[in-house]
Amino acid sequence: MYVAVKGGEAAIANAHRLLADRRRGDRSLPAVGIDQIVAQLALAVDRVMAEASLYDRTLAALAVRQARGDMIEAIFLLRAYRTTLPRFGYSQPLDTAAMKIERRISATYKDLPGGQLLGPTFDYTHRLLDPNLLADEPVDEPMQRPAEQGRIMRVSEILDQEGLIEGDGVMPVDHEIGDLTREPLEFPMARDLRLQALARGDEGFLLALGYSTQRGYGRTHPFTGEIRIGEVEVEFDVPELGFSVSLGRIQVTECQMVNQFKGSAKAPPQFTRGYGLVFGQSERKAMAMSLVDRALRAEELGEDIVAPAQDEEFVISHSDNVQATGFVEHLKLPHYVDFQAELDLVRRMRRDFEAARDRGMDPMTEAAE
């Protein structure tokens, strides 16, 4: 009987106990360690950190283990922890030109200052399952190179020397950088908030939207100006001291998409830019983010808004996977009170329909009369 699912606290407790059992799995096998997850499932950990907006590999790995590998559940766990943390202040903007680069590629120049560095990439691997990985075969030590010194100029700076690309842009003097975790979203939003939303947006959702722009739904003629992955220093602004202090280094992936632009009433012909920045190593997310960022600048650049990826309210309202999964999955909560109301209505309407039909009238026209 349905009322049986009106479970008490005992049922919930038992369900969670069973969940804990399934999470642990076969007790004769050693439990997977947090340090193993950090080291060997590093990209899963990176995604959880990025979409949870919390840079902490240990906690992200804990979340992955606790969520049994369900990425959105892990992101949710880490977000719910993050939101309880006190806010001491804000960091200075990251200087990604000063990045300690592990990977850096440009698709727009054959060679450029700082060079092309493939780094640890899946690109050009043949996707053949590796039987050696079934066992724990030894792995060669990687080749090392001396770290570069100083800044590595960005592709946007090269193009900017000729004035062919738009600048970094400036916000009005009185513009304070928003914080979407502390203020409710309002549309239309400035680009700073939009980029924050995209940075924690669902990788799959942004990937699909970015892909849609390539297939003609809001085309942006993109070139990968540059992708760089590496470590940057985070400087924390301390107003009381009058200077900033270093908090340490974090790994980020930055993508600058260069987009052809014919010019409009609002802007001259020049290359425009889409920007992506993601915690950890996630090129796919950073590239998708930069495609969507550029598409969402349609209004600013005077382009026609014709496609989903250009529609700010549509994209930003639906990019958060923790929100999306909660609302989709809430459909499994009981709705029988509302359903009862609908049952009652459908029964009445069917009675009316059948009565009209029995009288030989067209039931649908009678309703209108």
């Binding site: 699912v5 409710p184 309210e313 309202s317 909560l333 509302d338 609908e342 649908m364 309703a367």
Partner: protein
């Protein structure tokens, strides 16, 4: 890493509570207006009552007595879960008895018993915008509210009548609050709409995912939208509650077997149980002695 976090009383930090209380005060000052607030990530999913939980967390004190219902019942899983959450993070007294509660958090129902001036009813709201399914854009609907431009809603209700002979909205039936804002009462059945009108209790509405809070202060006019020739009417049930014999209450349909057998019982489990404790008995209770086997309002709910 033994201690990840120590949580404040009622989970939220005091800064966040202050932010939410400000939004509540604004909502009370402008009845029916949806106040944007910086909704936090909560340790339960969006869509599962995070708005209501944030409101309750912001107003609850150690002296409060909390009741949580879902579909009118205290023993539905999510109500159990939310009640347990506040027991854990605020260590407050909880109850299933409507009259004992100072705060009642609800999803989809308003209790049958009349609420008093010392009670607050906190609604969990999925989609706070009554115009959302007519106009998906927030930028547009905010303008429509600002201009009191509610013609679209009346056209929708009119089209219902034209197509179906009656208004085909059975829950989340739109109301006008204090003669100004059209408001979504949350997905309560329209049966409950009249209870919102001139209520002695403060009514607070929280939508966590959509980041909105709104309110109906006590003794405020709440009028369900209708037409002179198609006045608003609530659902009526043919039979009384099979367990307690109550009439003029909202009933759940319970399927008894695979041969079409069914009974109708109170959706408000506390109300039903209270009536039975006072000697009222419905048809099924008298014949089958179903009082304590986990049916709605059965023994389990009381524990």
């Amino acid at each position: 890493m033994t201690e990840l976090a120590t949580y404040n009383f009622a989970y939220l930090d005091e800064q966040t509570k202050r932010m939410i209380r400000r939004a509540i005060l604004k909502a009370i000052a402008i009845p029916g207006y949806q106040v944007p607030f910086a909704s936090r990530e909560m340790p339960m999913p969006y869509g599962w009552g995070t708005g209501g939980v944030q409101l309750t967390a912001a107003i609850i004190g150690p002296q409060d007595v909390l009741k949580v219902i879902d579909q009118g019942a205290d023993d539905t899983t999510n109500a159990v879960s939310i009640r347990a959450f506040f027991q854990k993070v605020a260590n407050v007294a909880v109850t299933t008895r409507t009259e004992e509660a100072t705060i009642i958090q609800t999803r989809h129902r308003i209790p049958e018993a009349k609420l008093g001036p010392n009670q607050v009813l906190v609604y969990q709201v999925p989609i706070p915008e009554p115009l959302r399914f007519l106009e998906p854009r927030e930028t547009e609907t905010r303008k429509m509210h600002a201009l009191e431009e509610y013609g679209l809603m009346h056209v929708k209700l009119y089209e219902d009548i034209a197509r179906n002979g009656r208004i085909a909205t059975t829950y989340a039936y739109p109301v006008k609050v204090a003669g100004r804002y059209v408001m979504d009462p949350s997905p309560t059945p329209k049966f409950d709409n009249p209870k919102m009108h001139l209520s002695d209790a403060l009514q607070l509405f929280g939508a966590g995912r959509e980041k909105r809070i709104y309110a109906v202060p006590p003794y405020t006019e709440v009028v369900s939208l209708d037409f002179e020739d198609h006045p608003f009417e609530v659902q009526r049930f043919d039979k009384p509650c099979a367990l307690c014999g109550a009439e003029q209450v909202y009933l759940d349909e319970v399927i008894l077997d695979d041969k079409g057998g069914r009974m109708f019982v109170c959706s408000d489990t506390d109300f039903c149980e209270d009536r039975r404790a006072h000697g009222h008995a419905g048809a099924m209770l008298a014949s089958n002695g179903l009082a304590s086997d986990g049916l709605p309002g059965g023994k389990e709910a009381a524990e």
